[in-house]
Symmetry: C2
Amino acid sequence: MKDVPVLIDTDVHNALRSAKDLLPFLPKVWHSQWISSGIGVGAVYTSPIGGSRKDAVPEQGGSPGSDPHFLLKHHMDAYGIDYAILTGSGLLVLSLQPDPDYGNVIAAACNDWMAEHWLAVSPRYKGSIFINASDPQAAAKEIHRIGHHPDMVQVIMASAARFPYGQRFYHPIYEAAEQYGLAVAIHPGTEGRGISGAPTPSGYPTRYMEWHNILPTNYMTHINSLVCEGVFEKFPRLRFVAIEGGIAWMPHLMWRMDKNYKALRDSVPWLKRLPSEYIREHIRLTTQPIEEPDDPEQLLQILKMIDAEKTVMFSSDYPHWDFDNPRMALPPMPKPLKQRILAGTAMDLYDLHKRPEARP
Amino acid sequence: MKDVPVLIDTDVHNALRSAKDLLPFLPKVWHSQWISSGIGVGAVYTSPIGGSRKDAVPEQGGSPGSDPHFLLKHHMDAYGIDYAILTGSGLLVLSLQPDPDYGNVIAAACNDWMAEHWLAVSPRYKGSIFINASDPQAAAKEIHRIGHHPDMVQVIMASAARFPYGQRFYHPIYEAAEQYGLAVAIHPGTEGRGISGAPTPSGYPTRYMEWHNILPTNYMTHINSLVCEGVFEKFPRLRFVAIEGGIAWMPHLMWRMDKNYKALRDSVPWLKRLPSEYIREHIRLTTQPIEEPDDPEQLLQILKMIDAEKTVMFSSDYPHWDFDNPRMALPPMPKPLKQRILAGTAMDLYDLHKRPEARP
């Protein structure tokens, strides 16, 4: 067996067993608010078939994804996954809390919980640092507080936001992340909640399915903004991970941006290359929920258009309802491309070049 | 020479020569408001290189697109265009006026101006009926008032809107359009103006280029909504034209909708087919600004994914800055596909099976 990872899952949702798990890490003044109302920003859209796989409830009970030992067995060993990038469960909405102080302490508590309850359990778990993106100065401080942790590999924030993520308001986050060599990731699902605006340019979709269908447009929004605002010129080592936002829209976005750039480049003089070149170098997409055309060859054509061997990473979204099975998610494709998607690109991005030494 | 049209331009912007052109068609009580402030909803984003081609100013002076005789010569004869579908210039924002009464009278005045100043000039001009989409009952009345006009071929509204266009609020518009065999078209460019919301799920982009890059996400929003809300089951003869919104995002949208439909169809029980099947049958896209990958073969792959021979129609966007030249816009492709895009699909949609008898 080779010494390099063969399968890295870049979106695994680990959950709190109970709200009480967070109390040891949360200043006492916030305890009653946390216990009585959690983050306190209600869902606008909920899946009519439930949010999680029903077989993912741990043997000892509790929410799917809440038992680190069961998750190793039920998901990682079952599919031969070397590393899971943990992204939490229902926590990203903390950035959409109107009270920035509350958002900040929840973020810090989640990070300490992640380190103690998960990263300490197995070297196969790698953590995402929660931040309150609505208070970027505080978010940068949090990155400085925990960014040195050897098993924290990225910063994560909700894709729902008040402003497009390229705007200078957010730059302190990128500056801190770059300093620690951490990727910055976004994850969807909070669109329309809390202090974020409507989930579309035309207001609120009607139902969960319609809302879920259209989430990638917010990804297009952020990537467009990051490039146009010159974030990747200002932070040249920054990598931005667009988790669970689909992939097949990327050719359109790159081509449209390049075409407009040719006529309108005067308005973005800080850009030194075509927008698509920044995207290929700095943006990483994760696969789940991967598009499934009737003709799988068409997905391969899309993968080629976006240099998928450099830009796309496998994710399962375990234990959510629309989980993609790593053995079935990808269409038939050349082995080198498959290796890059299943492990190679994540290996490079997160510096996971060796398999975990111990498998508890 | 064959008797069928060889080139139909599905997006030509005809303009008012002067605000005064509208006065004969506008009730007197609104004259001073119209003359002093026009539609009265300012632009949020403006092109730093101007909105129109500088060579499109008519010989007699005036705004580009404002002289029907010059337009015939400068654009239609120059490229051998049989028919132009006229879409107006800067008028669609009328739906984003807070006062519905004002929006309604402007829409009616624009239609009478279109009929008298343009459709009467040449049989090569075909008109779009302006409506105030924010007052759908009044919009339906306006369609009943003018929908019988033999040279009006579609209803047009701004893509910027307060709600996604599938919602039942808008159904009176579709009912009336279907009754007259009129297509319903949307055109971009008013996103963020008036009573519409922010142009993205994450608020306001920074600059015109960034805003322009991301406009197609609003198209994805509306098409998703129209399908999920069952509009095409309720109005089976309705055709919806997505003008100037790009095309290469369509495979992603169709595949994502179909994948979600398989799991979530219980929530949209009125749908009897895959979402992509409704899209292929009922949605028409126009080409400009067509995406231009380095490898033109990739655009052909996209065209194949969306059955372009049935769904895509040529448009130039004359006289706007990002005009596409009909002789250069399309990559090399099989002749039958090219014929469908340049004329065939528009011929079917707008019932323009014969060349105009007289020129002009």
